[in-house]
Amino acid sequence: MINNDRSAIALSRSPIRSLSLQELSIIAEIPREEYVLKCTSACAGCSDSLALRYVLKAAGPDTVLVIPACCTSVIQGIYPNTAFNVPVYNIAFGAAAACASGMSNAFRAAGKKTNVIVYAGDGGTLDIGIQAMSGAFERGTDFLYICYDNEAYGNTGMQRSGGTPLGAKTTTTPGGKTDVKKDIDAIIAAHAPPYQATAAAAYPQDLFKKVQKALSFRGPSFIHVLAPCPPGWRYSTEKSVEMGKLAVKSGMWVLYEREYGKLTMGAPSRAAMKKPLPLEEYLAPQGRFKGIDPKTVEILRQQIAKTFAKLAAEEAAP
């Protein structure tokens, strides 16, 4: 959702800082056209719609979104209205990638280059949609699959998903999740797509560039976007960008991209690897981690270290 007044207020409150030339040039590159229009049904502080705004700016008007059951099914508005200025095809929960597969084939058969983008939540990607997604990647479907990850079934009121991290409370894990988050990126990597990346709604320029890059490849590409969710994670609505940044700075979320299998870590994650923010700074503002057992925090910390070590080794490998 775009709320100019609010961003103006936010801007007036933030300390004045001059933008670097590089930052200015990226902002200049981002088109002014809006494809996520005003009056969506998104919750206040929604990262999903923030991310989608940049995804569509990067993709442009010759794009069709395929959306399984997820928060975005709601955010787009109620028939006969739509808040998105590109065609949106809604499809059943487990079927997004298969539907996109048919759509992409039909467009290519008709000689059209239209971007086919699946925009799906973590439940629709890591859980119920994984089979269709795996099939579409294995078949080399020419499409972009974006998973915006709010780490639970947000649309149905925050039930546990395969994307929920260890220790997080959801409505179906009231005592905190006892299993670790599914590593969907490793599963995607096993399909060897030409391009895959992680991103975060809190780093929109990075997301914008990655979407443009992903769409420049023929064949399947995947972007996994961290999308903090105020009602689900139980933090106050103005902190969504901050939560995303804390996730990256603490190492709970790592920004990287893999181009034809070659991994490059993003600068913020490279910095976090050298000197991670104490994990507690990320966990403390979130109600879902309230009362988390110190042993669980220790396991999370070890996981972060392991993930960094693994990715650094992969990046260093010739």
Partner: protein, 370 residues
């Protein structure tokens, strides 16, 4: 062109001539031969379709939907468990008003694993908004597949069509096949609601209680309108290609006292039984039901009715019998026969008629019948 073909190959032959833009398919016995044959057509360059070898039937229908909404012509084929696995998406295809054509090779449902003919698979799709037609010969499988595209894609219909053929009894039986040049009998598909990036629209999003029923009613309205389209299409087919089809195929029904109603190959088998019964002085006729959806008006007034179901709805009865009971006041003798490929000969069908008892149900081969 005259040739010899199986039911499966006849379907594939018709599909080749209709030239779908996208075919998405997953193998399952006894349907596999259809998609194998189509894959061969595509790989040999005889058919310029995009062939998507999906990883499940759920995805097969989802891919047909995704392709279909761009305005592409689509086809798939399945059977039994594959059809049940697809069930969520068959509903979606109809709700999305996409003229997908699908061949269903009717097969039993497990457990235990049984690959033989039964209609319970397709009948579980009865309420999804698909038109359903059941065929009985190789020629009819071919002709009906051609007509299915024409009917599904008609502007007054725009609903998917399922062409049903009995597993093995028809799918793998060789019979003579006379193929035609369909030409403009199959006009290009113009989907009025196809995706257009220049005029962005949302499809299938949130729909409130104030609107959803209207969309459902519109499906029913088109289902009713499809009756005329089916009639016209079958008439035109007969004028162009010389073979006549109706909603039912009636055999010696005019002066009959007792009429056997069945679908698929059993309905054809019944014709032999009718001749035998007539020789014995029993005035019997056969009414083989082709179109189950839309369900036609059957003229059964004043007749004794014997319905043979190769299917069952537990706790209620034979599904076809139940449908017919809902339409006619005549008391029905309901026979459940041919389940899971159980052998039923014309002799058996003649016996059903000889031993008919109005208003009762009879499970063929089961010793205790009440």
């Amino acid at each position: 062109m005259k040739k010899i073909a199986t039911g499966n190959k006849a379907v594939a032959e018709a599909v080749k001539q209709v030239k779908p833009d996208v075919i998405a398919a997953y193998p399952i016995t006894p349907q596999t031969e259809i998609v194998e044959q189509i894959a061969e057509f595509v790989s040999g360059g005889e058919l310029k379709s995009r062939y998507i070898p999906v990883e499940s039937e759920h995805s097969a229908m989802a891919a047909c939907i995704g392709a279909g909404i761009t305005g592409a012509r689509t086809f798939t084929a399945t059977s039994s468990h594959g059809l049940l696995y697809m069930h969520e998406m068959t509903n979606w295809a109809a709700g999305a008003r996409l003229p997908v054509v699908m061949a269903t090779v009717n097969r039993s449902i497990g457990p235990g694993w049984n690959i033989w003919a039964e209609h319970t698979d397709a009948l579980q799709e009865r309420d999804t908004g698909w038109l359903q037609v059941y065929v009985s010969t190789v020629q009819e499988a071919y002709d009906t597949t051609l007509m299915a595209f024409r009917i599904a894609e008609h502007n007054d219909v725009l609903l998917p069509v399922m062409v049903n053929l009995d597993g093995f009894l028809l799918s793998h039986i060789m019979q003579p096949l006379d193929t035609v040049e369909p030409g403009d009998f199959i006009p290009p598909l113009h989907l009025p609601h196809a995706i257009d990036v220049k005029t962005p629209a949302g499809y299938g999003g949130l729909t409130g209680p104030d609107r959803h029923f209207k969309i459902r009613w519109d499906i029913e309205r088109s289902m009713r309108d499809s009756v005329k389209v089916i009639e016209k299409t079958q008439d035109e087919f007969s004028r162009r290609f010389g073979r006549r089809y109706g909603f039912t195929e009636d055999y010696r029904c005019e002066d009959a006292d007792v009429i056997v109603v069945a679908m698929g190959t059993l309905g054809k088998e019944a014709e032999v039984a009718i001749d035998q019964l007539r020789n014995e002085g029993i005035k019997a006729g056969s009414m083989r039901l082709r179109w189950l959806r839309p369900f036609p008006d059957l003229d059964l007034k004043g007749k004794e009715v014997v319905v043979i179901d190769r299917d069952y709805s537990f706790g209620r009865g034979g599904i076809l019998a139940t449908e017919i009971m809902a339409q006619t006041k005549e008391e029905v003798f309901s026979v459940i026969a041919g389940i899971g490929g159980q052998e039923v000969t014309f002799e058996d069908v003649a016996d059903f008629v000889r031993q008919r008892r109005r208003g009762t149900e009879f499970w063929f081969g089961v010793t205790v019948n009440v």
